[in-house]
Amino acid sequence: MRSFISNFDGHERTFYRALHHLAMLVLVLFSFFIVDRLLDICFSRLTMQSQIRFSRLYSGAIDADILVLGNSRGVNSIYTPDVENRLGMKTFNLSYNGMGIVLAQSIFEDYLENNPAPSLLVIEATNINVDSKLINNLKLYTHYSHRLKELFRTEYPREYAACQLSRLYCYNSEFFLRVLYFIDKNDQTWINRHKVDPGFVSSYMPGPQSGQMFAQISPSKLNALLNIIDLAHKNSVEVRILIGPFLPKHILHIPQFSTWKQKLSEALPTGYKIWDYSTAITSNIAFADPVHLNYEGSRMLLNMLLGDGFFTTTVAGM
């Protein structure tokens, strides 16, 4: 009897100990869940308060006459404060490093849904061969856009699942640091300010991977560009397809470029043309690196664009 009782006590003790340990585990997980959700609320508010371009897009705070879409070359080709000064038209640059055309389509659709349509859309077209990997950086906006959510789910299924488990994971990106940095700053003045090292230029030759970028145009990406043009047309937005300047030493050594440009040109709807400034600037001081202008370069380009009537909207985008 005695041994039965002590045995029973032993089992009971083990049972309660196991229960206690289980409760501790659940408490740790529950605490994580609560902190995760509370921080998500704080961070989403910070995100929408930020002056960074996509936060302004989703808070509906943009009312631009000219909208620019592209990748980092778009960021560094069109300096919006200068365009506004010279043209007196409100200009907004929605380009972002690594933004491919498929993502740009979703961004443009979201733009039209949340903000008044611009009168002119500039697309820096070298983003046509860029993939949509940037969506992983922009995952914090999937709360506000079903298009981005879908793209994120398709491109990064595991990361998407992780975001469902931990909302904080949506803020795990370099982009969120930028969101915080631009919390009370306008990000439209963001442009390369440095100049490429002349020593580097003198010995520079583009690698074979530079040519691969222009090897072909994928049909889905071309389709995205055509969709943007079509959507713009439906919303009475004129479209300019721009190829910003490269360091001549870079682009002149990429034989695939001219074929790529011709194919793109042929694929555009009738009447649309490519405004090609790929070799328009030859001075090293205009470049931050072989494929990006700096502030000096953007000013040189702007002078050329103004001289060529690039922003004149009476010609109906052609």
Partner: protein, 475 residues
């Protein structure tokens, strides 16, 4: 299988359930099968390599123990070392020596092209060969009894937490622990979990966040400014520390949860006041292995100063070569050997200098710690650079101070994030000199829970989950 991969997180609960419910040889068998599955996930063919090393060292250990004849014992020891180093040499160094030999011949005007052999480097080979060698040497020296159970010995060789990237656990430390069924205790589980969590912070948050920045600089040094390269070099020092210390801590934590105690493998190495202290704090299981089985066997410091310097140099050169089959690793080892030898020469004068000027030793720390860290970072350049030319280019460009503007630094936001992470880690490590976090956690167990929640949040917010392999896998 990577600790930071999905497969591992499926594997470990299954393994743990089986492991905790079985006893005796059944538990050892599950440990062995689990370890082999863990290793096979990478490439099952190399299991035969582990089995060969296990069988040969097990049998030769038995032979050594079975005879009192010194010559025969020595013969078995040499055979064992030749087999272990032969396997390591073939898989790791064949192409290196072929390539070096071809270049040497071309220097004297003989053109002889052998090409390179298509040899895959088995993951963790340097670790498990050193581990098995330590067993046979210890048995030979009578420092530990021979292990009669092949199953137990096989688990010692292949135990998955430390199989592929260490720590190099000595047979005298691990085998005795395999003799009894280690209890699965809640306190050990919690402590192990906190070490694992901190290991993941070091790996996924610190090392992997810095990896992109470092890779961009080392892959194209010519395109980076002095400041940018300087950042790359400093960040690499923390990347490799986070990566390897993180892996070690995860391995030690896992073993702790399973009931085994392995020693500490890293002890805040960048707070060393000398290079000898650095090597007592960095990769402790390797540096103590090299000290005990190589440096002391060569005579250590018992045969006069010149022989001591030579022994230090040989030990560090071979230590460098252990890390990788490339001359850059040899240079890295050479520089550390040089630092250690110079330190031996200079330190008496330095102590006299401090005494004459009545500078308290604590004050000299302010100078010594950054100085040792800086030299360590310069040496890391050779360790990380793809080639000797790249390493020189990086050091040359840093020395030029050609552009120190932060504006010209690429990946600015990631760099700022990197700095914040490195500063946070440094503050935590400094505080751990004054605060005994382990004692606090033992006194107030609920803090462990808070620590785990904190780690999960930090990993969620700052972790990098690209499935980056651990740097030390390649060694």
């Amino acid at each position: 299988m990577l600790f930071n991969g999905l497969a591992f997180w499926v594997f470990i609960p299954l393994f743990f359930v089986l492991y905790s419910t079985l006893r005796g040889n059944h538990r050892l068998l599950v440990s062995l099968i689990g370890s082999y599955v863990f290793y096979s996930w990478w490439d099952w063919r190399f299991l035969f390599l582990i089995i060969t090393l296990t069988l040969s060292n097990y049998l030769l250990g038995m032979k050594i123990a079975a005879t009192a004849d010194t010559e025969r014992r020595k013969y078995y020891l040499v055979t064992s070392v030749v087999i272990s180093l032969g396997i390591l040499g073939y898989f790791k160094y064949t192409n290196f020596f072929l390539d070096s030999f071809t270049k040497l011949l071309s220097l004297i005007g003989i053109e002889w092209h052998t090409g390179t052999l298509n040899i895959i480097l088995p993951v963790g080979i340097s670790f498990y060969t050193f581990q098995t060698m330590s067993y046979v040497i210890d048995v030979y020296k009578g420092k530990m009894p021979v292990e009669n159970s092949l199953l137990r010995f096989s688990v010692f060789v292949a135990f998955f937490p430390q199989l592929v990237a260490g720590p190099i656990v000595r047979a005298s430390t691990f085998i005795p622990q395999l003799y009894k069924d280690q209890p699965i205790e809640w306190d050990r589980m919690v402590r192990g979990a906190t070490w694992i969590a901190w290991g993941f912070i070091l790996k996924s948050v610190i090392a992997d966040s810095l990896a992109d920045i470092v890779d961009a600089r080392f892959s194209n040094p010519g395109a980076n400014t002095s400041l940018s390269l300087m950042i790359g070099v400093y960040f690499y020092a923390f990347q490799i520390y986070g990566d390897f210390a993180g892996y070690s801590l995860i391995a030690i934590g896992l073993a702790h949860m399973l009931g085994y105690d392995f020693g500490r493998n890293f002890n805040r190495p960048y707070f060393s006041e000398s290079f000898s202290e650095f090597w007592r704090r960095w990769h402790i299981s390797l540096s103590s292995w090299l000290r005990d089985y190589l440096y002391i066997s060569l005579g250590g410091n018992r045969k006069g100063p010149h022989r001591t310097y030579a022994n230090l140099m040989i030990t560090m050169l071979l230590g460098g070569l252990w890390h990788g089959a490339a001359w850059t690793f040899v240079i890295w080892g050479f520089l550390h050997g040089l630092y250690l030898a110079l330190q031996r020469i200079i330190s008496p004068y330095y102590r006299t200098f401090l005494n004459v000027l009545r500078i308290p030793p604590a004050a000299s720390k302010v100078f010594l710690i950054p100085f040792i860290f800086m030299l360590t970072c310069i040496t890391w350049v050779f360790f990380r650079a793809a080639s000797f030319d790249d390493a020189w280019l990086i050091l040359h460009r840093i020395g030029e101070f050609n552009n120190m503007s932060f504006d010209a630094v690429a990946q600015k936001f990631l760099v700022v994030k990197g700095f914040l992470l490195v500063i946070s880690l440094t503050i935590i490590e400094i505080s751990s000199f004054f605060i005994d976090y382990d004692a606090i956690a033992r006194a107030k167990p609920w803090l462990n829970g808070m620590f785990l929640v904190g780690c999960m949040i930090v990993i969620s917010l700052f972790g990098t989950f690209g499935g980056n392999a651990f740097i030390y896998f390649q060694f």
